[in-house]
């Protein structure tokens, strides 16, 4: 490792943009297959096609929060602030994804279930997950000391993460309006290819966003933790002898 008093430069944004580009290409291909090549669903007709956006978003939202959980744990165990930057990035991207997830679900629910929203176990636990992580973002904003901010929010993320497996299993444990998880056995093969393509598309796009957001967080942390600037030179009175 180099001299710790002179930190190495934060890597550029190239990797993040590369991930986003790859994700966008996969999303374009998967969405084309899903919207124009795959047939309609027997009962739902064209409405089912929102599945190609909703299901990949759901999987990757859980992945984002799982990564946030891992990063929070890694920060507390290592006291290394690179994990705090990753934690901040994953929570923020995860919150955006969870918000999108609820919107997409609502749009799909209206024509199929007949309602925009209902307090069924899956929807309720997902809303709890969304607001818990929004709260963690707010907590990070309120705490100015970077050490306290990193520690407290990491603790909060670990506790909030308890809801994520409950979201996943809610449709199995309780009666719900939301359907259970699908599997390749319950989905026709022609639907599986566009679904998987979009799942990897969202995964890479999200990875790019988290990478870029981690970079921003690292740069900001470095600025916050930089040693204070030297005292400004005293202002000399005009005409004073030099």
């Amino acid at each position: 490792m180099a001299d710790p008093s002179r930190p190495s430069p934060v890597p550029g944004p190239g990797a993040g943009f590369a991930f986003m580009g790859l994700g966008a290409s996969l999303l374009a291909a998967g969405s084309y297959l899903g919207l124009f090549v795959a047939p309609r669903e027997s009962y739902m007709g064209d409405v089912y096609r929102i599945m190609y956006a909703h299901v990949p978003t759901a999987w990757n939202t859980m992945l984002a929060f799982t990564f946030a959980f891992g990063a929070a744990l890694a920060f507390l165990l290592s006291a290394n602030f690179k994990w705090d930057a990753r934690h901040e990035a994953a929570v923020e991207v995860g919150v955006v994804m969870a918000g999108l997830l609820c919107l997409q679900g609502s749009i799909w629910a209206r024509p199929t279930w007949g309602v925009w929203w209902d307090w069924d176990p899956r929807l309720t636990t997902t809303a709890v997950m969304f607001f818990a992580f929004v709260g963690i973002l707010a907590l990070r904003r309120f705490v100015e000391d970077p050490v306290k901010r990193a520690t407290w929010s990491a603790v909060a993320t670990i506790i909030a993460y308890a809801d994520v497996p409950i979201v996943y299993y809610s449709v199995r444990w309780w009666n719900s309006l939301h359907q259970m998880q699908s599997s390749p056995e319950t989905v026709s093969a022609v639907f599986v290819i566009p679904l998987r393509t979009n799942a990897f598309g969202v995964l890479f796009f999200m990875t790019g966003l988290i990478t870029l957001r981690t970079r921003i967080a690292s740069l900001r942390l470095r600025q916050e933790m930089a040693p204070p600037l030297p005292e400004p030179a005293p202002v000399l009175a005009p005409g004073a002898a030099r």
């Binding site: 490792m1 180099a2 710790p4 930190p7 190495s8 934060v10 890597p11 291909a29 297959l33 090549v37 795959a38 047939p39 309609r40 669903e41 027997s42 009962y43 739902m44 599945m51 744990l73 507390l76 165990l77 290592s78 006291a79 290394n80 602030f81 690179k82 024509p111 199929t112 279930w113 007949g114 309602v115 209902d118 069924d120 176990p121 050490v147 520690t151 990491a154 603790v155 670990i158 506790i159 308890a162 409950i166 309780w174 009666n175 309006l177 939301h178 359907q179 259970m180 998880q181 699908s182 319950t186 989905v187 026709s188 022609v190 290819i193 393509t197 970079r215 690292s218 942390l221 470095r222």
Partner: protein, 166 residues
């Protein structure tokens, strides 16, 4: 990026205990919700069997009833009123509603209705929701999926798809 680690005066032994504490709280919360009694008290809807078994206790309260629309039970009666039976294979409850059914509403599909049980034994519903299962099927005939085109455009995945077929 890794070097920002060296900057703050943070003791690892102290934050380590925060990790264990947080994990313990998370595990306790998870256990409380899953194996604790809370799960039994979280009821999104009752089945027809439970509703029939509850008898008079079910009358009057706003509840949800879930089950399948029984075959041959859908009737348009008295103007806009719709009536059908919700069944779970063992018991059946007759439902009356004035709400407009969603497009997917049909015999055999899952429904969740919100409303009250009336003294004469029917369920008066103000909110009718259709639940869709986890099955997504391409139409068996008619609109043929263009399998070849799908496989061409996703070469790697096509292999797995072909090998799965008997």
């Amino acid at each position: 990026m890794s070097d920002i680690a060296a900057l703050p005066p943070l003791s690892r032994s102290r934050t380590k205990w925060f990790a264990f504490g947080a994990l313990a709280v998370a595990a306790a919360a998870f256990a409380f919700i899953t194996v604790g009694g809370i799960g039994d008290n979280l009821v999104y809807y009752w089945g027809p069997t439970e509703l029939v078994a509850a008898g008079d206790k079910a009358i009057g309260a706003t509840i949800r009833l879930g089950g399948q629309v029984a075959k041959g039970s859908i009737q348009q009666a008295r103007g806009s009123e719709l009536s059908f039976a919700v069944s779970d294979g063992k018991a059946t409850v007759n439902v009356r509603t004035k709400s407009v059914p969603p497009q997917l509403f049909r015999e055999g599909i899952g429904v969740v209705v919100e409303g009250t049980m009336k003294r004469d034994g029917h369920f008066e519903s103000q909110r009718l929701m259709v639940s869709h299962g986890n099955e997504y099927r391409a139409p068996a005939s008619g609109e043929k999926p263009d399998m070849k085109k799908l496989i061409e455009s996703t070469t790697g995945l096509g292999e797995a798809e072909r090998s799965r077929k008997p």
